[in-house]
Assembly symmetry: C2
Homo-oligomer: 371 residues x 2
């Protein structure tokens, strides 16, 4: 998590394990620690994209319209942050691919959802996770046994009234949707993974996720003590803005609202130059006079995520805000940064084989997960 | 099915497979073939009892109050009927133990529900099923993979409105209950058992069950063609009456409303003599004059189920109805019949080992299931 190395004073010394991966990014400018529990292990979760090679944050029931293809690109960044977390704390990481959710919410076939889950796994693996501490699973493959038993334990504690209140389900929603919250909840509990955590029933779990996933894990935190389990802890992030600006919606149906990890440098250049909403003034004269409005400027927002060098970022903000840098110049820098990240990701992803996916997804112990 | 050897003219030549076992008995006097589909294979299903050694028909959501411990005894009879079906048609048989359902409806722990499922399996095995054609599974053990994928396919087709209409769920019901119908539905589909029926996707399934299970399988029949599957066919039976009579409710909380397969001959004698509702008259004189009312007489109803010899049954009915036989004499015959059946079952059950349960429940191919 970028947040982690920007705020190294955070008390992570109690982190014991990273349980599951939520592929949603963690925005360092907008994270909140839900709970006095703080965390001693982490859950991430990853959702299947309809587009091969593109990673969407999992934003199922409630926030479909807010879900954004752009966030896909963030995946590379996210991936590296999660990898940092794993590297820094030597914790096991479990990545849930909710192909069942995608099948139910997007009305995809089971087969297509499973195929996309594997494609998604390749993007995740390309981020460089340590296979000796990482277990990736898809719901369609893994649900069953101890995991299913926990689903039933959770489901018994949650009434329909409750999920209506939490998720806004209606009478017209199919029961697949109503059945789903426990599927998302139970990776928070180590006993759902007996091949990993047998004998570690009291491990705690940390869930970095986008704000839209909060309802699932609030429900989980509510239920956990009632079934004798530890509550998961959460780090929540806001949504990454669409290229068109904070008010625009990233939409899978509008490829220009987002940058994909599959985009070519030319496409990235075109998208940023044509669609990235600028906070610059309408004329060079006015721009020199008034400076750019950084609050709404998408190139600066994107650079805040993607530019590694904090000093350069501060410099750009200062110069751009004062009108000494022009929008074109900032966009040029963003294009360079994005292109480099995307190229690196594409190279890494091209080297991910089906055998590697099988290896990460094999139900197996992780012998050195705590070392 | 007793019905089958009493009506040998039924067109069973199209029966191809018995898929799942519903442990509910089939009452030959009250069976209906749902559908023009008739059947070409059979689903039975079996439910877990709270009482070890006692088998309840699965009557979950709607009919808890009607569920009856007495029916347990019928199990022996049922078992032999199902065995007959299997023997006669050389069909594979899959028996679902819905331990998850019991866990959710009876608020038992997962562990206790699983334990009871194994106890239940022993009673079923004691009926003499052919292990080379019988697969017994419990939901907690088996849900997952292809089975779970089918659950999602079914769930997508059923709205909350629909399950409210079918099962009478309310907003206060927990989502475990709302999630359950697909679990009961999908054993109707051969693709839920790839280790058995890979390549046999078009096999048809027959479900003999008690009338209370009808909602589940009407839902299943509604959904099946929408997901490209064959509809299951059903044979439905009425409830077996409580000892106290048709108007009485069999209740697990009243052991005297039912006869258990664990009852001793002495207990059986006592229960029949004290509690079995008689259609006989209030004095011997009146009885000789008016005869017994066979419509309400429980000993005669029970004998209709348990007495193998049709001629003797007719004789008893005739003599008893005419007042020439007394209630005590009919009860005496019932006690003999029940005691013999229960004793036979107890002996058979005592010989069922944990290893046999493991063998029946092993996920394995059944190489000779169609021969």
């Amino acid at each position: 998590m970028l947040m982690f190395y920007k705020q190294p004073s955070c008390k992570f010394n109690r982190v014991e394990t990273v349980l599951c991966v939520e592929s949603d990014f963690v925005d360092q400018s907008n994270c909140s620690f839900v709970s006095h529990d703080f965390f001693s292990c982490t859950t991430f979760r990853c959702c299947v994209s309809e587009r091969p090679n593109a990673l969407f944050p999992s934003a199922p029931a409630l926030n479909d319209k807010e879900r954004s293809a752009t966030e896909v690109l963030i995946q590379h960044r996210r991936g590296s942050r999660q990898r940092y977390l794993q590297d820094a704390f030597k914790v096991p990481l479990v990545i849930q691919l909710t192909d069942d959710e995608k099948c139910m919410w997007k009305n995809l076939s089971v087969e297509e959802s499973r195929r996309l889950a594997r494609e998604n796994a390749k993007d995740i693996i390309a981020c460089g996770f340590d296979i000796s501490r990482t277990f990736i699973f898809s719901d369609f493959d893994y649900v069953g046994g101890a995991f299913y038993q926990n689903m039933v334990r959770v489901a018994k504690c949650v009434t329909f009234n409750k999920v209506v209140g939490i998720f806004g389900f209606t009478h017209e929603d199919h029961i697949g949707k109503i059945s789903f919250p426990p599927v998302q909840a139970v990776p928070s509990f180590p006993s759902s993974f007996p091949h990993l955590f047998a004998g570690y029933d009291n491990l705690r779990c940390l869930i970095p996720c986008a704000i839209d996933q909060d309802p699932y894990f609030r429900m989980t935190r509510d239920v956990a003590p009632r079934i004798g389990y530890q509550k998961p802890a959460l780090i929540e992030s806001s949504f990454f803005p669409a290229l068109q600006g904070e008010t625009g919606k990233m939409s899978a149906s509008d490829p220009n609202s987002a940058i994909y990890v599959t985009d070519t440098p030319k496409v990235i250049k075109n998208k940023v130059n044509r669609y990235a909403f600028s906070g610059g003034q309408d004329s060079i004269e006015n721009h020199r006079k008034y400076g750019a409005n950084l609050e709404v400027d998408i190139p600066v927002k994107y650079l805040s995520f993607f530019l590694e060098d904090d000093e350069e970022l501060e410099h750009i903000k200062k110069e751009y805000g004062a009108g000494r840098l022009l929008t074109g110049e900032v966009k040029k820098r963003l294009i360079e940064v994005l292109s480099a990240i995307v190229e690196r990701h594409q190279k890494a992803r091209a080297s991910v084989t089906d055998e590697m996916v099988d290896a990460f997804m094999a139900v197996r112990p992780l012998p050195h997960m705590f070392s």
